[in-house]
């Protein structure tokens, strides 16, 4: 599927990205780049299931679990993030299974699925706030500074290291995306998103396929949360969990374009640059303005450009490429108004 030329383009682009921090060292711009990469990874993780019509608003919960489990294990038990991050990912995976299984087993789709996952992220927020004796509640939480080995504690002071880590994680996300894109699971999930009964009749194990992609997506989102926590060294329930974060993921993925691998990344670039520009432009008055613009844009995008900027651009550039996949035309519910 991926031609020689595209592979070469990827390789050159990647080399440029790796080389970038050694040539250009402005800390502020590197900081923005790291944030973009980490959030891109989170958005890509979300779009893994979002593109198959499994719209989850619970990913804020998974991200919060990844971040808080890692930080809590480090501060209270002294467990290195190298152990804490996998535990956080497993915890998010277990929660995804607990919520996902009844949803998929009993055919909870559409509105119901969105509402259930929405409640999930709300509840994770409540739990983090409720256990304020351990998590610091809404005031936020800071992992302790490591006295000795920086590598063991996964705490680095220079931006270049973080840039490379974030780049690696982001690349991992893209690779997984392509891996899913070329797997049998994709065809199964596309069939499911078009017609569950027909897919089941054709021998697709609907529950198992949905659970697998949900598990993958949740675990990756938890990783994003943990990396974010290690990089920022400060987390609050509102920045890593809750409904706002979940909606932010959906928004960025939709703006960028759900059905292309770089779509969520594109969305992250746009949304983070937008937020930063507004923040610099308005100064401290900006509190709230970025979300106000986000919200208006989200509504406008869903009404007028549901395929996202990158998705629409690629469509425009290559009209002769092929007939759009059937599921992109209608069945994946985000795709297009008017089925």
């Amino acid at each position: 599927m991926m031609g020689r030329g595209r592979l070469a383009a990827w390789a050159i682009g990647l080399a440029a990205l790796v080389a970038l921090p050694f040539v250009y060292r402005d800390p502020y711009h590197l900081h923005i780049l790291v944030l973009i990469l980490i959030w891109s990874f989170a958005y890509t993780s979300w779009s893994m299931m979002g593109r198959f019509g499994l719209v989850s608003l619970g990913h804020g919960g998974f991200m919060g679990i990844g971040a808080y489990v890692t930080a809590l294990l480090w501060n209270h038990l002294g467990w290195s993030p190298w152990i804490g991050i996998p535990i956080g990912m497993v915890a998010a995976g277990v929660l995804a299974l607990i919520v996902g299984y009844p949803c998929f087993r009993f055919r909870i789709t559409g509105h119901y699925f969105v509402l259930v996952t929405l409640a999930l992220s709300g509840i994770v927020l409540q739990v983090i706030t409720a256990t304020r004796d351990y998590t610091g509640g809404s005031l936020g939480y800071t992992p302790n500074r490591a006295p000795g080995n920086k590598l063991l504690a996964l705490q680095f002071d220079d931006k270049i290291t973080w840039y490379l880590i974030a780049l690696g994680v982001w690349l991992f996300g893209i690779v997984v995306w392509h891996w899913v894109d070329r797997s049998m699971a994709r065809y199964a999930l596309e069939a499911i998103s078009e017609d569950e009964d027909a897919a089941a009749a054709a021998g697709v194990d609907v529950t198992a396929e949905k659970l697998k992609i949900t598990l993958l997506s949740a675990v990756m989102t938890a990783l994003a949360g943990a990396i974010y926590c290690q990089y920022q060294m400060f987390i609050t329930p509102d920045t890593v969990s809750g409904i706002a974060v979940s909606l932010q993921m959906v928004f960025a993925a939709i703006v960028g374009g759900l059905f292309v691998s770089l779509g969520p990344t594109f969305g992250a670039v746009i949304t983070i640059l937008l937020a930063e520009t507004l923040r610099i432009g308005f100064g401290t008055k900006a509190v709230g303005w970025d979300n106000l613009v986000y919200g208006v844009l989200l509504v406008l995008f869903i009404i007028f450009l549901p395929k996202g900027i990158l998705g629409s651009l690629l469509d425009r550039l290559k009209p002769q490429r092929k007939v759009p996949r059937a599921h992109e035309q209608e069945a994946v519910q985000i795709a297009r108004p008017g089925t």
């Binding site: 719209v55 608003l57 969105v114 409640a119 303005w289 108004p337």
Partner: protein
């Protein structure tokens, strides 16, 4: 030991009654959401944010302009009703033929807009009405008048909606549309008008809830998040669009939250409610009152 049991029972009874009082307001919110869903087939993710705007309206009218509570309340209800109609007209109407998830996400965008609008316009301070209603002592149990008043007002509100739905022509048309969308247009019912009226009605219910909640809670831009998720849980548990199911589910949830709060923090009551919800999804996935297939 006997003394311990006596006290325990009193507290238990108090928690049970407080749960019922809390359930009234939750039932009101669930009714509004169910109405919108049942008739227009859309879920307003931003429903709790409409309530938040209503609470701010109450706060400013009562605190800043010195309008009496009982004059401000109808104005707030009217304001939020207009907001609901505007939400339908501006956001939902262009998306009526779009896939349901798109409509839902668009209202998610509205959630962002309302929250950040409140942040920009009113700041993130916690504000309250400054009205302190007395506490009613009944034997050794204590109930706040605010809760009692909310419960009664919520009940009255629901009865009014019930009468409107069963006794008026418009109400009958609304119920008919929720049964069959296509046919009713053929029967000469102006669907667009009914949708707009329903949205305004849903908004009015949110406005009423705002008037009642502002008596008990401080208002801040993110206050919607503290009862929004629980409202969605209630509606799903009761069966989306099922009015009676939502009513019962509201009280079940309120009891769990109240009783859970008795043994530990209030937030743990919410967590317990969520655990209960997941268990119920295994047992009755289509809602409490769903008929067995």
């Amino acid at each position: 030991m006997q003394a311990f049991l006596d006290i325990f029972d009193i507290y238990l009874l108090e928690a049970v009654i407080n749960g019922i009082l809390l359930g009234g307001v939750l039932a009101l919110l669930a009714l509004g959401l169910n109405l919108i869903f049942g008739v227009i087939d859309v879920t307003w993710i931003c429903y709790a944010e409409l309530v938040m705007i209503g609470m701010y309206a109450m706060y400013f009218m009562v605190q800043h302009y010195g309008i009496s509570y009982f004059v401000a309340a109808p104005l707030t209800i009217l304001l939020v009703a207009v907001l609901g109609a505007a939400l339908h007209y501006l956001v939902i109407a262009p998306l009526l033929t779009a896939p349901p998830i798109n409509q839902l996400l668009a209202t998610g965008g509205v959630l962002f807009v309302l929250q950040s609008f409140a942040t920009v316009a009113f700041g993130i301070d916690f504000r309250n009405l400054g009205i302190r209603l007395p506490v009613l002592a009944f034997g050794e149990m204590h109930f706040s008048y605010a809760r009692l008043l909310s419960f009664l007002a919520a009940l009255v509100g629901m009865v009014v909606v019930y009468l409107f739905m069963t006794r008026t022509f418009t109400g009958t048309a609304i119920r008919a549309i929720s049964q069959d969308r296509q046919i009713m247009a053929l029967m000469g019912v102006d669907t667009k008008r009914i949708y707009l009226i329903t949205s305004a009605l849903g908004g009015a219910l949110a406005g009423l809830a705002a008037c009642l909640l502002v008596l008990q809670y401080d208002v801040h831009p993110f206050v919607g998040l503290s009862f929004g998720p629980i409202t969605f849980l209630i509606c799903v548990l009761g069966g989306l669009g099922n009015f009676i199911g939502g009513f019962i589910a509201a009280f079940v949830f309120a009891e769990i939250i109240s009783l859970g709060g008795l043994f530990s923090d209030l937030e743990w009551g919410y967590v317990l409610a969520f655990a209960f919800f997941i268990v119920m999804m295994f047992i009755r996935p289509a809602g409490l009152l769903a008929r067995r297939r």
